[in-house]
């Protein structure tokens, strides 16, 4: 039996899906978290007779006429894929809007069961809903549910009703909304008006509200502060700073401390198992390459988990939708809108779902631009790089993370402005977004989501990153004659000879060493590799010390091993954050942009942005700190001027074409 979950955005479909299948799909307290359909089997405890029950979670939709592309997934599924039963999740705090979609679903002929979700919130507000009357009016079963609760949540009753409806083989009879079948547009509009009148009549009959919804609430007062035109930005900055402080300086390191202790003992254990008589190449591959490289990356797991935990709490609270309002103003000036914020916030976890979330943006140029710029937000995989450089070169850890986060936002805004000029597309679009209610974030939900991410991180570390580190170790052990490289001449290795030509390009950026070039390249496979490759190339096994919570042998020692200045380190950090993302994220960009021209343009733009920013950071930083310009200034300046020249040319061409098309329009008028 195939069961479809359909309902308005943020009515709790995915929470219900997770509750009845036992899966852990990403949820958040705002509209548009789910952008594709997901399938799962009903879990054993809710399916005692072991029937074949497949549940399909669909993106939220307000009606059968889609506004954005993810809404059309929902319509296409319920219309064309013949589900046996539809569970229509209705937000019980907002009957008057939700039932519009319900009446449309009832007309499909497929049995519908209404899950009256968030019924705890209705009670809290002092509203009452006459469930039997609603059932009679809609002519379908109506079950009250609280999908966020783990027991007494109405889910067993819901599934009983679903199974019964699915087995009855009866066609759903739709209530008579008092309209004839429509064929023309005007007729459709009339029918939809009748539909709303029908819904309004039901709602006045079944619902009693204690406080009318247009009255001001405490939540509205909070909104006026956190989404205040000027206070909103410092509040957002403070919250992000807190998130980074907690994860990078306060709580994260405590866990990292314990965790790295385990890794070290594992390393020592393997070393003693191997003994003295093992071939040094093999032992180096195992200890330095595989264990060393992987543990250097995994050592940052506690910091990442704490960060994700804080972000999950923020997402759950409903605050993130307010951030979209605060930033809408700035994004609007550069041709994007507050809508673009949501993919970027999701992209702070991982760029791929972030890029996929751009589907909720209707305007094509805005959608493509957002997909192109979302990778500029520091994703979870880039966090080890930030944490490493913050720890090695800058004592004030949380300061670096926060500033990279906001630098990301600023770079995105500047880039959006450039892209708008290049495309010459000045079309405006309206911004409308549902504001979810605030709620106390759930520690349990956040923990579950963090554990899922940790699992994915460890799997990645044990597969892709392990293989990459092993390959890097082998390539730096041998030279082209397949002889072991002498310790005094590491620059003769295969890896060094491949990476050196690339490193020349990086001289004007301050990090023209083959090790850094190699790490930047392996970073395209997975950004965690940057840290892993550096660990392997410089033979450092872990970056976090057990006793001191500082870096191995003191950060001074590591920075002297790296052999670059703090300014160059910052340039390297900036370079890695603002170059193209990993291949998987580029793949996501390709599928969301649906245009090779845009994709290649995006990759070229990201490469240029990384190079120019790193150049500026290194050269200006060196000038300020030492009073002289950095190495390779002239060469770098030429490269940067060429890039800037190309961009300026494209911008000019774009604005010319915009003028021409504006001219055409005025001629037509």
């Amino acid at each position: 039996m195939k069961i479809a979950l359909a309902g308005n955005p943020n009515s709790g479909k995915t929470t219900l899906f997770n509750a009845i299948t036992g899966k852990i799909e990403h949820v958040g307290n705002w509209a548009g978290v789910t952008v594709e359909k997901k399938e799962g089997d009903v879990k054993q405890s809710l399916n005692p007779r072991n029937e074949d029950l497949v549940v399909v979670d669909l993106p939220g939709a307000y009606s059968m006429s889609p506004y954005t592309s993810e809404e059309s997934i929902t319509r296409d599924f319920v219309q064309n894929e013949n589900p046996d039963v539809i569970i229509n999740i209705v937000d019980s705090t907002n009957l008057s809007r939700s039932l519009f979609f319900t009446t449309q679903l009832l007309e499909l002929g497929i049995p519908v069961v209404v899950a009256l979700n968030k019924s705890d919130l209705t009670e809290k507000k002092g509203n009452t809903i006459d469930v039997p009357a609603l059932r009679d009016a809609l002519k379908c079963p109506v079950i009250q549910t609280i999908s966020s609760k783990s027991s007494y949540n109405g889910l067993p009753e819901l599934l009983d009703a679903v199974i019964m409806a699915g087995k009855s083989n009866k066609k759903q009879i739709s209530p008579n909304i008092g309209a004839k079948k429509a064929s023309t547009k005007e007729e459709f509009e009339k029918v939809d008006k009748k539909r709303f009148t029908f819904v309004n009549n039901i709602v006045t009959e079944v619902e009693r509200r204690k406080v009318s919804s247009e009255k001001q609430t405490l939540q509205d007062k909070v909104d006026r502060i956190v989404a205040h035109p000027w206070l909103g930005i410092p509040i957002f900055a403070l919250i992000i700073w807190l998130v980074f402080s907690i994860s990078q300086s306060w709580v994260g390191p405590v866990f990292a401390d314990i965790f790295v202790g385990w890794i070290d003992s594992l390393n020592a254990g393997v070393a003693s198992l191997l003994g003295e008589n093992v071939n040094p190449v093999v032992s180096a591959l195992l200890l330095d390459g595989i264990i060393g490289g992987v543990s250097a990356v995994v050592g940052f797991l506690p910091l990442i988990m704490v960060l994700f935990f804080c972000l999950a709490l923020l997402e759950d609270s409903g605050y993130m939708a307010r951030v979209a309002i605060v930033l809408d103003r700035f994004f609007k000036k550069v041709g994007l809108s507050g809508r673009s914020i949501i993919p970027m916030i999701i992209g702070t976890g991982c760029g791929i779902p972030g890029i996929m979330a751009t589907r909720t943006i209707k305007n094509e140029r805005q959608r493509r631009t957002t997909a192109m710029l979302t990778p500029f937000m520091p994703c979870g995989a880039k966090l080890p790089i930030i944490a490493l450089f913050a720890g090695v070169f800058f004592n004030e850890n949380s300061w670096v993370g926060t500033s990279m986060y906001f630098l990301g936002i600023i770079v995105i805004i500047i880039s959006a402005l450039i892209i708008r000029k290049i495309t010459g597309d000045y079309s405006k679009s309206y911004f409308i977004m549902e504001l979810p209610e605030y709620r106390w974030p759930s520690i349990k939900r956040a923990s579950v989501s963090v554990l899922m991410r940790a699992k994915a991180f460890i799997i990645k570390a044990g597969t892709i990153i392990l293989v990459c580190n092993a390959v890097v170790q082998i390539l730096q052990t041998f030279n082209w004659q397949l002889q072991v490289v002498a310790e005094t001449a590491p620059e003769t290795s295969i890896l060094a000879s491949i990476a050196t030509p690339l490193a020349i390009l990086f001289i004007p950026l301050g990090f023209g060493l083959w090790q850094f070039a190699a790490a930047a390249v392996t970073g395209f496979i997975a950004k965690e590799n940057v840290v892993g490759t550096l660990a392997v190339c410089f033979s450092i096994t872990n970056f976090i010390n057990v006793e001191e919570l500082t870096l191995v042998g003191g950060s001074q020692e590591v920075s002297s091993i790296f052999g670059i200045s703090a300014v160059a380190a910052l340039a390297y950090l900036v370079f890695n954050l603002f170059t193209p993302p990993c291949f998987a994220a580029i793949g996501a960009m390709r599928s969301e942009m649906e245009s090779p021209k845009w994709l290649w343009g995006a990759i070229g733009f990201q490469l240029s942005m990384g190079y120019v920013l790193a150049f500026l950071v290194y050269q200006i930083g060196t000038l300020v700190t030492t009073g002289t310009l950095g190495q390779g200034f002239i060469g770098g300046l030429i490269a940067v001027l060429v890039i800037v020249g190309c961009v300026l040319y494209l911008m000019r061409r774009g604005s010319n074409s915009a003028q021409i098309s504006a001219g055409m329009r005025s001629v037509k008028v």
Partner: protein, 71 residues
Amino acid sequence: MMSLSKGKVNTPYTVNCVKTDSEDIREFLFTLGCYPGEKITIISKLASNYIINIKDARYSIDEELANAIMV
């Protein structure tokens, strides 16, 4: 008739029409319950954004959309 952007906070208005070339946004607003004859209330004005109440939900809309909604 005036645009919603000129409206006062906390005063229920009745939607008259949505004045825009974009058929999509008009239809989308319709599905939210914002169409001629329905009630709409401004909850607060924040910078260039308006928090509005339609049916039983809060939305954030920008100035352009507030200009397009005639009450």
